[in-house]
Each structure stands twice: as structure tokens, then as C-alpha cells.
């Protein structure tokens, strides 16, 4: 589904943050992306989300060479990727329902056509009672689940999660992990960027370890 070949990236004239990255992310796979702070996890996630172009190397997304795709087509490809951030990035003036429905709204769909789906998804992530609540009122775990629901709303083929358990307590981290596993069982490839070893130890999954810009894979 995603293929990186000798990908390198440097910011400005600085040193290479990522070096010689060659790996695949197969369909329906589950992997952790880990490494010390500043190792380049977020940068790699941005590359996977097509939000950043590599300085060198080839990235193939869904069978297409990224360098050959016009910029105007990128939003359409990004819609096949869901992304969750550690800081949630929920819009504070929109309710949980409106935040989760945002991906469908930007696709120009009528609210009546997706209302039930959004409510159903919110119930699935355990926010059925928090539909009309604004994010400032939600707890950290609730915000993270709302962010996950938003990333899942348009049924992405791959979910990228950047430190999704960074702002929640261990029990909530376990619940979120179960949610990701459930999602993966239903067919979505999942990449979780984390440096939480306890979380990774709970699942026997592929590990992608970033150290000083280099990537090691442990199947």
C-alpha cells in the first residue's frame, strides 16, 4: 500500500533528519513507530500523510509515485489516510459530533446523509453521550477518542496516530489500543507512533524503530 525507497529528508540546509528509509506498509498491517524524542517520528508521519515532500528517494502511495502526483490531487489521496495527533486538534467551537463529521462535511456531503453514521461511530468509541459537548468540556481520553473517530469517519485505508496515548492515563491508553486493534481487525492498516514501551509490550506487532534518522524494522 505504501512503499518508501531510499527516502531522505533534511530541513533547509540542516543535517538529514531521516536517512535511507526503505520499507513497506502492507494493507491491514499493524505497526508501532518508535524511537527517542526528536528521532523524526512526526516527520515520518508527515511524509506518510503526504504533507511533506522528501528531499530524496521515492515514495509510492497506493501504487502511485508521489513525485508524479499533482498538488491538486493530494487532498483526494489524503482522504484515504486518517491521522490522529497527540494534541487532538479538535476545533473548539464545534461539538464532538461536528468535529467527527468534519471529514464528510469537507467532502460536500449533506448532513442528513451522514448523521446516523456519525452518531453510530461516536457510540462505538464510547462518546454516545457526549455528542453535543464542546471539546473544552471533554476529558483527555474523550478528546482522543473524538480525534480517532474523526480520523475513522471516512473509512481510511490506513490510520496514522502520533502519540495517541501521550495525554491519557494507562487504563485509557489500553482502551485506545484496543480500539486500534479492533479497527485493524476490521481491515485498516495502523501505524502508531509512540515511545510508550508498556503500550507496545501489550501487542505482538511489527516495530519500526527510528534512531538518529535511521529506521530498523523488527517483524
Amino acid at each position: 500500500m505504501i512503499h518508501f525507497e531510499n527516502v531522505g529528508l533534511r530541513y533547509g540546509m540542516g543535517p538529514e533528519i531521516l536517512r535511507d528509509m526503505t520499507f513497506d506498509i502492507p494493507k491491514r498491517s499493524f505497526q508501532f513507530l518508535t524511537g527517542p524524542s526528536g528521532a523524526g517520528k512526526t516527520t515520518l508521519l508527515r511524509l506518510l500523510f503526504m504533507s511533506l515532500h522528501p528531499t530524496r528517494g521515492i515514495i509510492r502511495m497506493f501504487g502511485r509515485d508521489l513525485s508524479q502526483i499533482p498538488r491538486s490531487e493530494l487532498p483526494m489521496l489524503r482522504r484515504r489516510v486518517g491521522i490522529v495527533f497527540q494534541d487532538f486538534r479538535l476545533l473548539e467551537h464545534l461539538t464532538t459530533y461536528e468535529n467527527v463529521a468534519l471529514p464528510l462535511r469537507v467532502r460536500g456531503k449533506e448532513e442528513s446523509s451522514y448523521r446516523n453514521d456519525v452518531i453510530e461511530l461516536l457510540k462505538w468509541v464510547g462518546l454516545g453521550e457526549r455528542i453535543n459537548v464542546l471539546p473544552p468540556v471533554l476529558s483527555g481520553g474523550e478528546k482522543q477518542r473524538a480525534a480517532i473517530a474523526r480520523a475513522l469517519m471516512d473509512r481510511p485505508e490506513i490510520l496514522l496516530a502520533d502519540e495517541p496515548t501521550g495525554n491519557v492515563d494507562p487504563p485509557m491508553a489500553r482502551r485506545l489500543l484496543n480500539l486500534f486493534l479492533e479497527l485493524n481487525r476490521l481491515g485498516t492498516a495502523v501505524v502508531i507512533a509512540t515511545h510508550d514501551l508498556a503500550l507496545m509490550d501489550q501487542v505482538d506487532a511489527r516495530r519500526m524503530i527510528l534512531t538518529e534518522g535511521r529506521l530498523d524494522l523488527y517483524e
Binding site: Y11, K123, G126, N132, L186
Partner: protein, 352 residues
Amino acid sequence: MNELSRPEAARAAKSKKRATEQQAPQQPQQTPRRAEMRVRPTAPILPPSNIQGNALMVVIAIMAFLACLTLGAVSMVRATAASWQSQISREITIQIKPEEGLDMDAALKKARDLALTFVGTREGTIMDDGATARLLEPWLGAGLNLDDLPVPRLVIITIDEQNPPDFAAMRDLLKTEIPQAFLDDHRTWVDRLVSMAHTTVLIGTGILVLVFTAMILTVIFATRGALSGNRHIVEVLHFVGAESSFVASEFQKHFLKISIKGSAAGGALAAALFALANIWQANSLATPESDQAMALFGTFTIGITGYAGIFATMIVIALLTTLTARFTVMRTIDEIDLIRSDPARSDGLPAS
């Protein structure tokens, strides 16, 4: 293709919980059943309070007011100039200078008769002694005896404006028959008035262009400010797969609302000002102030066309504002996209 679907996902999560007794996400069955979950009407993606809307609305109102005022003033001056022009070009004057041995009365009659032989003339009036004396009264005083002074005399010929006579031929004929006669077709005055009207329109257009330019620049700054203030929203929209055109249309909606309110306020104020000036003029007829104003500006009536012009200006301002906002957002989003995706330029963006 992903096989995830919401009801399936919910069912799968439920069965998973039963099977493993893991701490799964809250299930729909665990919450009280409701016939229908109610949600509030969907809020706009851009919160109105985030945009410096009120200040921009006032600026647009002022610009609209100035534009409508200029338009109204130009249309008023044009109407007055047209009215003067029409009055002047409805008549021509034959002036006969006195000369030793010239029978003035006979020359006046002859000049009138000669002029009336031309197609396009309607009637001729010889300005009699009394009328001529009244004409000269401001300069020479009352009780003037015209026989004592070599005063030129006038014949006024009314002409058909639509089908004017051949002035050159008439001038030649008069010159031949009565050498002391001089035909004044008021062309000089008409030309001056036309030129004045054109200049007024040109100045008005210039002012309108300046007002519109200032407004466009203000909107560009306001849009960039709004984009900057709502950068987090733009980023979220980017991450949920929004296209630039969608983001632009969200901003466009906001600016359309602001510009409609602003231009309506400014246009209504200008229209009200003209209406009030008209009422004041109607109520103070024959007073020195009103006479002065009327002499300078004519009547303060802009008519249906003027009010339609004000309405059109309001629409143009609303459209200009909206289009400017759209193009500015599209361009800025493209710039943001470019900077965001280029690692060599990422210093301009917060890490994400």
C-alpha cells in the same frame, strides 16, 4: 478497500468485548436507548467571532458610503449639466450690432425672417426695448434709453433639438444679407458643459476606482489576518482532506455576509443622505441657501436611476469583497501548502 462500516464496527466491538472481557470502548447498548439523537444545527466551520468582522464591516460600510456618494454626486452633476445643455441648445441667438445708418428694427425683422426660412427652426422672437433694458439693468442701471446707446439687439430663435437647422448655412446667409448680424448657436457653452460633465464623470470614476482599490486592499489584509488567526482551523481542514476550494468557500461565506451587511449600511446611509437633502431642498424653496445650493448643484434628486446605481454599487462591493477574499484565500492556502510540503521552507510553519 476497507471493509469497516459503522454498524458492523459496533457489532464487532460488542462481540469482541463479550469474548475477551477486555476493557472495550463503551457500547451503544450500555447507554440508555433514545428514539433519535438530537444534534444542534451545524455550526459554521469558521467561528464568526474569530474574524475581525466588525472592523471590516465598518470599513466596507464607509467605502460603500463614499462610493455611493460619489456615484450620486456624479449622476446629479450630469443631470444638471444635461438640463443646462438642453436649455441652451434649445435656442440660438442672432445679435445685430448697431451701425451708423442701420435701421435696427428692419434688420431685426429681416434676421428673424431669414432664420425662420431654415428647416429646424420653430419660432423667432425679437427682444424688444423693454426686455433688452431689463437684460442690461444689472450693469447700466434702471431707466435706460436704448436710443442713446449703441447697444446690440437680439433675436431669439427656438429650434428643434432633434432636427437642428444648418447653422453654417444660416451664418453665411445672415452675414451676406445683414453684415452686422452675428449668429450665436451657443456651441461654445454647450461644448464647455459637455466637457465639464465629462470631467465630472472622469473624476467620479477615478474616485470610485480609488475607493474600490482601497477596499480590495483592505479585504486582502483582512482575509490574510483572518487566515492567520484561523491557521489552526486551516491545518485541521488540511488533515481531514479539504481542498483549497472548500477552505476558500468557507472564508468566502464569511466575507460575503460581512460585505453584504457593510455595503447595505453604507449604501442605505448614502441613499438616506440624498433623500434628506432632497426633502430639505423641497422644504426650503426660494430661500437664499436653497437658491445657492440649487445654482451650484441643481436639485438634490438622483431619481430611480441614481438609487438603482447605489443598489448596483452595493452589489458590486459585496461581489468584489467576496471574490477578493476567495482569491486571497486560494493563493494563501497554496502558499501554505507549498511551504508546508517543502522541507527547505518549513521554518515558516509550526512543527506538526
